[in-house]
Amino acid sequence: MKILVGVKRVVDYAVKVRVQNNTVDLKNIKMSLNPFCEIAVEEAVRLKEQKVADEVVAMTIGPKQATETLRTALAMGADRAIHIMTDLRTDYMELQPFAVSQIFQKIVEEEKSDLVLLGKQGIDSDCGQTGPMLAGLLDWPQITFAANIETDGTSMTVERETDSGTETIKIPQLPAVVTCDLRLNEPRYATLPNIMKAKKKKVDTRVAEDMGIDLSPRNQVLEVFEPAPRKEGIMVEDIDSLIDKLKNEAGVIA
């Protein structure tokens, strides 16, 4: 079974972003592997360790520096990588999910992948659309928000997290697209020996603009602004004032 894992280079989870000129300011900001993609890589590597998969290919779409993201995936155990180069902003400002999923579709068809593992969403755009769109383009089954995956390489049973509980879905026959959620696994650290080994692993480079796909955005971003700051709490003198405020200001009691 060949697995294609999507890995996205995003603003590091711990960074507090700032808005500048109606867009998120990315200058000199720490970028890292999207946490949900990290979980997808971990799952793919585990499937290879269980001998269910025989090859894990990591793919990213991004600028020159995105090779760092691929190197993390390779250090975690991916066998080789594909870097689709583009200088377009990948945080929804320029490159958007429809174009991204078309790029994935092309690569999946070339690679003849049996399973595509993606993070459920990028923490920059929070779209969660690439997985479902890709499945639609490929006409493959899709399971999103996977919290547990069991497969023998042919069929697959996935538990997915929903707001109302866990749903178990069985796919009788691969291929499929699965997007990964937080509880699926605990990603491993990149150990030094593996980081060194990763340097020797193959990375194929392509240019996004040369792939014959319309990369222009489908949606126009009108405005980007920071959420209003949380209002400070106030102290009240007694229970009556508290009830008064809850009733007449906050409007949370009748």
């Binding site: 989870y13 890292s32 946490p35 150990t191 030094l192 060194m196």
Partner: protein, 454 residues
């Protein structure tokens, strides 16, 4: 202003982090302004009432715990940030500001408070200054003695002194540097009410590695290689042995799957991610190729950097949860660490369930040696005496310090006559007499009771 209820005073009289010391007090004063601090001290001075200054109460030598029902004077209500200059980096704050709050404030302004310790969520800057707190960034950003540009202090008689708490300039050579006396004197000369501290810029690139090696000689080698090859980006270098990690791993996940005799945490601060990464990877490759590093991980995100620090910062609290801890905080030449550890090991009775846990800021030659009696929270006084004697002997003969950063408090001060010559000690007593003639400031601590006349 005053809190007199016993159940509320427990928070102030108990030793929050170790549960080792317990004092007794019936009054906790929580002044809101320097003026109130002054009035309280003036009153206590007139009536000869002992005062225990208290900030975050996270000290490890019982320095902020009352001994004989002294009045606790807590600075926790003096918690305003007064001034910040983004060009010079000078931050002017009141003594009761929690360190982590200051770190967050400085970070939002692209700056860094130059100290960082595990207790940051609770400790307050007035306490940090009064104990000359060390922490993990001592190597990179220097000690508080260098970074504190000014203080406002209140003396026992109520006098308020402005010792350079003037946040407009850095360099000032006008008169005796009195503020130095208040840094590290643990509230025995007066109370610190305001601190002006110099903050460096927040590093644009922060990275960390968690490494393992076979023995302490290799720790020393890695340290030297790090200083040379990481050079200006090296910010912190900590070590932990398997004694402490075997306890920590029950509570906090370790990044390496196997247990190694020694682990090292390295953090780098720099201005360019690519440049720093290249340097770190080259350094790590060298250590692995030389066979000095057995295994290790390199943080791939800021979250992973935090994960590594969580391990190091959990050492103290995790060990404290296992039993009574015989705790030693010493300075030694790094090459002498194994000799010291051997001296201690030889004194441990094999029939007791004692585990030695060694960790600390090895780059500063600072070792935290903790011996915990697993499953037993009662102190064995004889063992305590014998271990302490061994520690003293072993450290003194090697020219080290018996308290690198934890201070003296009510626990280590009795050893002063052994490590300080009599002329130095006399000078210290003279200074105490000058600033606190009635002896109301943190009595029974810091300086041992004088043997001679009185």
């Amino acid at each position: 202003l005053f809190v007199a209820k016993p159940h509320l005073t427990n928070v102030f009289t108990g030793d929050s982090r170790q549960k080792k010391y317990n004092g007794d007090a019936s009054i906790v004063a929580r002044p809101q302004t320097t003026g109130e601090v002054s009035r309280i001290l003036k009153y206590c001075n007139e009536k000869r009432i002992g005062v225990v200054p208290q900030a975050g109460n996270t000290g490890l030598c019982g320095g902020s715990i009352p001994i004989a029902k002294e009045v606790i004077l807590s600075v926790e209500c003096l918690n305003e940030i007064e001034y910040f200059d983004s060009i010079s980096g000078i931050l002017g704050v009141q003594a009761g500001c929690v360190l982590q709050d200051l770190q967050n404030y400085a970070a939002a302004k692209n700056h860094l408070v130059p100290i960082d310790l595990g207790a940051k969520g609770t400790c307050q800057i007035g306490g940090n200054v009064s104990t000359n707190a060390g922490g993990s960034y001592y190597y990179r950003y220097g000690s508080l003695r260098g970074n504190v540009l000014g203080l406002e202090v209140v003396l026992a008689n109520g006098d308020v002194l402005n010792l350079g708490y003037n946040p407009s300039h850095l360099k000032d050579n006008t008169g005796y540097d009195l503020k130095s006396l208040f840094i590290g004197s643990e509230g025995t000369l007066g109370i610190v009410t305001k601190v002006a501290i110099l903050c460096p810029r927040l590093p644009r690139s922060k990275c960390a590695a968690f490494l393992s090696c076979q023995n302490f000689e290799q720790v020393t080698k890695i340290l030297q290689m790090a200083k040379m090859q990481l050079g200006e980006i090296l910010a912190a270098f900590e070590f932990m042995d398997d004694g402490v990690l075997s306890i920590v791993k029950e509570k906090v996940a370790l990044p390496l799957s196997e247990m190694y005799p020694y682990c090292i945490l390295i953090e780098t601060h720099g201005s360019e991610e690519d440049h720093d990464r290249e340097k770190i990877e080259r350094f790590l490759t060298n250590t692995m190729e030389d066979g000095i590093v057995l295994d290790g991980v390199l943080a791939q995100s800021l979250s992973q950097v935090e994960d590594f620090w969580k391990i190091r910062e959990s050492c103290n609290p995790c060990v404290a949860e296992e039993g009574f801890v015989y705790k030693y905080d010493i300075s030694l030449p790094v090459n002498d660490f194994p000799l010291f550890i051997e001296d201690i090991r030889n004194k441990i009775p094999p029939e007791k369930a004692l585990r030695t846990c060694n960790y600390g800021h090895v780059i500063d030659g600072n070792l935290h040696c903790n011996i915990v009696e697993l499953g037993n929270f009662k102190v064995d006084l004889e063992l305590s005496k014998s271990l302490e004697e061994t520690v003293l002997e072993s450290v003194i003969k090697r020219g080290g310090s018996i308290s690198a950063e934890h201070g003296l408090g009510q626990y280590k001060h009795i050893h002063l006559p052994r490590i300080r010559d009599s002329a130095t000690l006399s000078s210290m007593y003279a200074i105490k007499q000058q600033f606190d003639p009635k002896g109301i400031m943190n009595p029974g601590k810091y300086l041992p009771p004088q043997m001679s006349s009185e």
